[in-house]
Symmetry: C2
Subunit: 308 residues, 2 copies
Amino acid sequence: MQNTEDEFYAWLRSVASNRTTLRLGIGDDAAVVDIAGTDCVVTSDLLAEGVHFEADTGDFMLVGRKALAVNLSDLAAMAATPVAVTVSLLLNKRQGMRAAKNLISGMSPLAAAHEVALAGGDTNSWDGATIVSVTALGRLEGEPLTRAGARPGDAILVTGTLGGSILGKHLQFDPRVREAIALRSDFEIHAAIDISDGLALDLSRMASASQVGVEIELAHIPISAAAYELASANSNGKSALERALSDGEDFELLLAVPPADAQRICEQGVLGIDVTNIGRFTVARELYRIDEQGKRRPLEVEGYTHGL
Amino acid sequence: MQNTEDEFYAWLRSVASNRTTLRLGIGDDAAVVDIAGTDCVVTSDLLAEGVHFEADTGDFMLVGRKALAVNLSDLAAMAATPVAVTVSLLLNKRQGMRAAKNLISGMSPLAAAHEVALAGGDTNSWDGATIVSVTALGRLEGEPLTRAGARPGDAILVTGTLGGSILGKHLQFDPRVREAIALRSDFEIHAAIDISDGLALDLSRMASASQVGVEIELAHIPISAAAYELASANSNGKSALERALSDGEDFELLLAVPPADAQRICEQGVLGIDVTNIGRFTVARELYRIDEQGKRRPLEVEGYTHGL
């Protein structure tokens, strides 16, 4: 158990009724539900003013976009194709209708780009902070991709670059929906997760779900320009590498792929996005980092957690 | 447009992309989405402390139950069979895990009774009020029942009794899921809505969606014991009848049914629940109430609105 949220979900799994209609339940990026014989992928994420965004500095169009994007990123991690979303809004009375329209307007271009229908939701107002709760539904071609399928010997692949998302990417990232579907279609992919809470933490979750260990090569981690920028400003003293390991909200894909397919993927990238091999899954269920001198040390797992 | 919320939804319908995967969009109790060729019914409702419940008096198990029940009631209005829900929680840090467990535990018996799977969700905490956002998924046998199918000459039927829900029913009502499916299976039902915002308001919504008018017989409206109790206490001066017409949160079914089927339904009830014929739909798109003396007056539409 990395944190209280994980403990709560362990409890939740223990009480959630194990219905036959629930093909894949709590514990992955999204669930898979049997609707009259068809797999429906479903995921929900809620953004709150003061927790996930600030009203005084926040552009509600960007907040709306992000509320949709984080859900699409969860569908991407399952290699699901987004179909529709519901949006429940709790609006501050002073901001009211203008905020509502900005939140929805901010979602529209991303929804259109992924052919996602706005299927409805709920709207209320109060004197408190603004809340945006989104649920996304998707469909599958074949079996869902989960975080539980990594095998010893698989390469650890990551799309794009990591760290420093707070400088802007966290609001404007492109959920890797098409990339996930393209990779799934053309290659053997054993497991996937989206990096929402930091590379190390999400990698540890995949390793735990797959009952394997990991070795990552620090020299191979694709560090973002934003992570270097923050490190050079010496913001909180973290190095660019530490940021790439632990910063949240990258929303890149982390994949477990057999070595031959991994090599081909890294050579060609996917839909113009670089894909990098950063290590391998191991039989021993331990997490290691290997530095540039080849020295092997335990990987500290830290990252953004929601903390109850 | 009865209120600002309706105006917002009109705007929302105008901007929501009209995807072919959206079989039925914003404007009914739930939406119908095409997931790989299968109809999936989806609805979302959010409950907020201070708006829908009070933390100091609220039993979080009852709040959790209600958050599930209002969503199941929306599925009932479409004659959909509930399959799964996602639950997003925003918890107050002082209440934390205990509140979360109570919210979920309060849902469990109702979920079990309707064989609904808890498929996942999102959990965060903050210093603010507690928020429970639920999305329910359902499946259909045949076409969805909507609020738009009422025809002139159809009888207006209502399940159970109306008014005074605030005395307790609003927290402990049984969503009319099985009743809706049974009625749909055995009879011709043209339209349905659940009475969440008061009989008059929800009836006006059905009439508007169906492009018909209504005449209701005040003497036939099934007034609840709770409505009489509140009226005799002279709480805010409303009569029991006025409460049955305008109180929110009854969560009974309002149905448009051809006269012959309506008579059979009212004679036998449904699954032990009384069903009452309270009037008829008309060609003229106006709303009337007929009192015990046979006097016909315009029906005032009032009821709980969420108000932006």
